[in-house]
């Protein structure tokens, strides 16, 4: 007879809702006739994510006292709930875009795609709440495996399969590093739970122990792979470029949220005694990410690749907030994640529309005149790019201000200077995209804008981009309420 733990079912309801929707979507692949499959799967996915949003918002409201549930394996607190809200929001927007963009022109695998999307989002919402090393690894593998397959879903598209394979191989390397690091930490402390690790280190004076530090370093490396921070970023440009653009949009936004939300929790909860080590480590990784991301993006002509490098550089900014390690850093991180997720998702979604219209990869050349042909998508892209660059056209500006403030509070003026210089460099390539969208009419470059006929009408994609735009612009004006949410979320972590 095995003793089963008492389960607080409500605390994992977001995960259950998403998983349930995933099963229904998968059943649709068999039971629903092919003609209705796309509509059915989209509806299931949208409903699933809306359900997830509802439960996670509810959990946020109802979890003011953060505590662990299910044999101390999972955190029911506001940090978890807020991260889940963001992931579900991204998932909802992804469902809308995917419905019009994925697995075209045939409807093959559309149900499976949505099933995987829901499953990976479920994994992420599990990941951000994990309370011990075992659950963390399990959840990481859970959402990663779903992502590997999603990258390769358009297997007849050149690059998609390659992207999936590359992500699988390098992602597994990252997972292995995380697992080995976890094993070392367990070896050093004899505990798997985050809180127990910290108390063991404190009570037995293990701080600075070689095995513990090596384990921590390997965990940091493993999370570095997932958050695509330099020098663990090598897979990012290739995978982002090769994967179907919808999947790229989801990965760029949601994976970052999951990885950073969890990283902050692990470090604060399990390794507070080693803060002097990990804050310097993350500052170093931040500088590397900013340098590599920005400099490499300067020379890209392929816009998807450029945005991939830009996502590396934004990982650098997020790491600045992470390395500060303070409550202010946590708020900065959460705010930045909301804004960044909206902008990253939106910009890739716009690229998806252009890519579909052209049938070839989007480059700076064939983006010419796009802003005038598709005014709404063009203006949205304009907002996203200026927001990325930290100009006050949206919350991107406040987000940068916040992380840099966190760094300054930590006493790191030099990191503020690095961030500022990185922003200046980034301006060049973001503006290059705006330049080619608006300032070079396509007639001038003699690029056929559309391969036959007018561009496809994509109402759902427009809705998704509109949502992203509303979040990225709205966050500039609604700083106070968002920070309020982030403050409550951060207060559930130990400081």
């Amino acid at each position: 007879m095995i003793n089963t733990p008492s389960v607080d079912w409500f605390s994992i309801s977001t995960i259950l809702v998403l998983l349930g929707a995933s099963f229904v979507a998968l059943l649709g692949a068999v039971l629903v006739p092919e003609s209705a499959r796309r509509t059915f799967a989209t509806a299931v996915s949208v409903l699933g994510f809306v359900g997830g949003l509802v439960t996670s918002v509810w959990l946020y409201v109802d979890s003011a006292d953060g505590h662990r549930v299910v044999s101390d394996a999972f955190y029911r607190d506001r940090w978890t709930a807020l991260s889940q809200v963001i992931v579900c929001g991204i998932g909802l927007a992804t469902s809308l875009v995917a419905s019009e963009q994925v697995a075209l022109p045939r409807d093959e695998h559309i149900s499976e795609f949505f099933s995987l999307l829901l499953a990976s989002a479920a994994g992420m919402t599990f990941f951000v709440g994990s309370a011990n090393l075992m659950v963390m690894f399990l959840a990481l593998e859970w959402f990663s495996i779903a992502l590997y397959v999603m990258c390769a879903i358009d297997y007849d598209v050149e690059g998609s399969l390659e992207a999936g394979l590359k992500y699988l191989v390098i992602g597994s390397f990252g997972s292995a590093s995380l697992l080995f690091g976890s094993a070392l930490v367990y070896g050093a402390t004899g505990h798997l739970g985050f809180a127990e690790i910290a108390s063991a280190v404190g009570s037995r004076g293990l701080s600075g122990d070689a095995m513990l530090v090596l384990g921590l370093a390997m965990i940091i490396a493993g999370l570095g792979f997932k958050s695509s921070s330099a020098p663990f970023h090598m897979w990012t440009p290739d995978v982002y470029e090769g994967a179907p653009t919808t999947v790229t949009a989801f990965m760029a936004a949601a994976t970052k949220v999951a990885a950073f939300a969890l990283a902050f929790r692990v470090l604060r909860t399990a390794f507070p005694q080693e803060e002097h080590l990990w804050s310097w480590a993350f500052a170093g990784i931040a500088v590397a990410s900013l340098a590599i991301g920005n400099l490499a993006a300067l020379v890209q002509r392929n816009v998807k690749r450029m945005l991939a490098y830009s996502s590396i550089s934004h990982a650098g900014f997020l790491l600045i907030g992470l390395s500060a390690g303070s409550a202010l850093g946590g708020r900065a991180l959460m705010y930045y994640l909301v804004v960044y997720a909206a902008m990253a998702f939106g910009s890739f979604a716009v690229l998806a529309a252009r890519e579909r219209e052209l049938g070839v990869p989007v480059t700076l050349e064939n983006l010419a005149g796009f802003g005038w042909e598709r005014p709404f998508l063009g203006v949205a892209m304009w907002f996203f790019l200026f927001g990325f660059a930290g100009l006050p056209l949206g919350g991107g500006f406040v987000a940068k201000f916040y992380v840099l403030s966190a760094a300054y509070r930590h006493g790191w003026t030099w990191l503020v200077i690095v961030g500022v210089i990185a922003t200046l460099v980034s301006l060049y390539y973001y503006l290059a995209v705006v330049r080619s969208m608006y300032m070079r009419p396509s007639e001038e470059l003699r690029v056929a804008p559309v391969a036959g006929g007018s561009p496809a009408r994509e109402p759902l994609l427009h809705v998704a981009v509109g949502l992203a735009l509303a979040v990225s612009v709205g966050s500039l004006f609604a700083v106070e309420p968002l920070i309020h949410l982030a403050k409550h979320a951060t207060s559930s972590l130990p400081f």
């Binding site: 708020r331 200046l424 503006l431 300032m439 920070i483």
Partner: protein, 484 residues
């Protein structure tokens, strides 16, 4: 709605109108009319505020506050001092003229164009009324966004290079300002410009100044200026030199001098030297320039230098003169660039070699250009003369040689401006000046004449501004006292 609400209304009305223009599928004519109407409404709102402004005592008026980023001490805080009121006035008047010009010449893609011009209006007014550092910074940056597109889309052949240079230059300065303001604000615990304490940090001061000397610009940070002023559409160049550049010198007054008294006096000689260098170098370049826009562009550089001398002289007369000169030069260069635009429309060029003899048969053009030219070269009795005289007198109180340099530059100003007038209006008829090149049309007159009228009024009563900028006759006391 109280008169204080007008401060926010002045900022947000153009943004709202811009969004309306982008969203509503209006015709070309309706779009332009709406934009002109909104810009005139801005002028009306400003007149209403000026009428209610209490010039008799200093300090901030028409204040509004709201929470923005509470936990870092950032708030939405707007309000106007005497001098900010004048700069807001300059902005709304110059922008109305520029928008009117855009309507008159019928810019392509009207919805995008007018929306961006209104966006620019809102952002620029915001710079002059913001009383919170982060808010100031946000508006300061926000000006760049429409300018980038306005120059890049509607500009001349070399526009792409010009925009990149312009944006990278100004952002390099602004981002250092961002670093500086984080340091200042977090040390002070508030980003509020009215409540915030003064600081003695020289590094932070230099960070702010770097942004302002690029925006103004002063020598040697003017690298972006010739390209941007040449490639932008004339009405955009007009606001760029007439209004946007003033945001740089305004920042020196409102932030660098007011919040950093110790670093200001420590670097006084350096800043005066930069101002003098800009003044002399700009004047010489203007004299050497071979095109209409070139002369006015470099003379703007020279004038920024002169204004900086006035500000950093740190004397009552210098401050008064600097504010008066900001307004006078803002109007002069707006009018001159608009006239340059009308000349270019008639002749397709602004090169002196291809122009000439336009006075004959074009009395309105000749009269207006001559009037503005004469005001601009600071003929005694003109608004610019009053401004320059005050600045030089202020500089003289600091040390006589600064005034000597300034006076020498005024001679150069007469030389380049007379050269411009004769090269365009007189001399032999240029090869591009045909008989079909008409005199100024009613639409153009409606834009230029009011601006010239304001300039003439200022010439008659310059004290209207110079006595009413700091709430009393003692601006140095005000600068030190009223910003606390």
């Amino acid at each position: 709605m109280t008169i204080a609400d007008f401060t926010s209304l002045l900022v947000w009305l153009p943004f709202g109108a811009a969004i309306a223009i982008w969203v509503l599928p209006l015709s070309r004519y309706a779009t332009g009319s709406l934009a002109v109407l909104v810009s005139l409404l801005e002028v009306g709102l400003w007149i209403q505020q000026a009428a209610h402004f209490d010039f008799s005592h200093g300090g901030i008026q028409f204040e509004q506050r709201a929470r923005w980023i509470g936990d870092l001490g950032v708030s939405y805080h707007v309000g106007e001092y005497g001098f900010s009121l004048w700069l807001v006035g300059l902005t709304v008047v110059a922008m109305a003229a520029a928008i009117g010009y855009g309507f008159w010449v019928g810019r392509e893609r009207p919805r995008a164009y007018f929306g961006l011009m209104l966006f620019l209006t809102g952002a620029t007014v915001g710079v002059f009324v913001a009383q919170d550092l982060l808010l100031f910074y946000a508006f300061f940056e926000a000006m760049l966004i429409p300018l980038y597109v306005l120059v890049g889309v509607w500009g001349g052949a070399g526009r792409l290079g010009a925009t990149v240079k312009f944006v990278i230059y100004t952002m390099a300065g602004s981002l250092l300002m961002l670093a500086s303001l984080i340091v200042y604000g977090l040390q002070a615990g508030t980003f509020d410009l009215v409540d915030g304490p003064t600081s003695v940090s020289r590094w932070v001061f230099l960070g702010f100044m770097f942004a302002f000397v690029i925006k103004a610009p002063l020598f040697p940070f003017h690298g972006w200026l010739p390209d941007a002023y040449r490639e932008a559409p004339p009405e955009v160049t007009a606001v760029l030199s007439g209004v946007i550049a003033k945001a740089g010198v305004y920042g020196m007054l409102r932030i660098a001098i007011a919040k950093f008294p110790e670093p200001t006096s420590y670097y006084r000689t350096l800043m005066l030297a930069l101002g003098a260098a800009a003044l002399v170098y700009g004047s010489v370049l203007a004299f050497r320039s071979t095109s209409f826009r070139g002369v006015v562009a470099y003379s703007s550089l020279a004038q920024s230098g002169l204004i900086a001398i006035g500000l950093f002289s740190g004397t009552n007369l210098g401050y008064d003169g600097a504010v008066l000169q900001m307004i006078a030069h803002g109007l002069v260069s707006t009018v001159l660039f608009l006239i340059a635009g009308t000349v270019e429309r008639r002749t397709t060029t602004d090169e002196f070699a291809l122009l000439g003899g336009m006075a004959k048969g074009r009395p309105a053009l000749a009269t207006l250009l001559l009037t503005v030219g004469v005001i601009s070269l600071a003929v005694p009795g003109s608004a610019a003369f009053a401004g320059e005289f005050l600045i030089l007198a202020g500089a003289f109180q600091r040390a006589w040689w600064w005034a000597a340099i300034g006076a020498a530059a005024m001679v150069l100003a007469a030389m380049y401006m007379l050269r411009l007038i004769s090269a365009v209006l007189h001399e032999a008829r240029g090869s591009t000046v045909g008989d079909e090149a008409l005199d100024l049309r009613p639409g153009e007159l409606a834009l230029v004449v009011p601006l010239v009228g304001v300039l003439l009024a200022l010439s008659v009563w310059p004290a209207g501004i110079s006595h009413n900028s700091f709430g009393g006759d003692q601006p140095t006391q005000s600068v030190e006292a009223q910003f606390k």
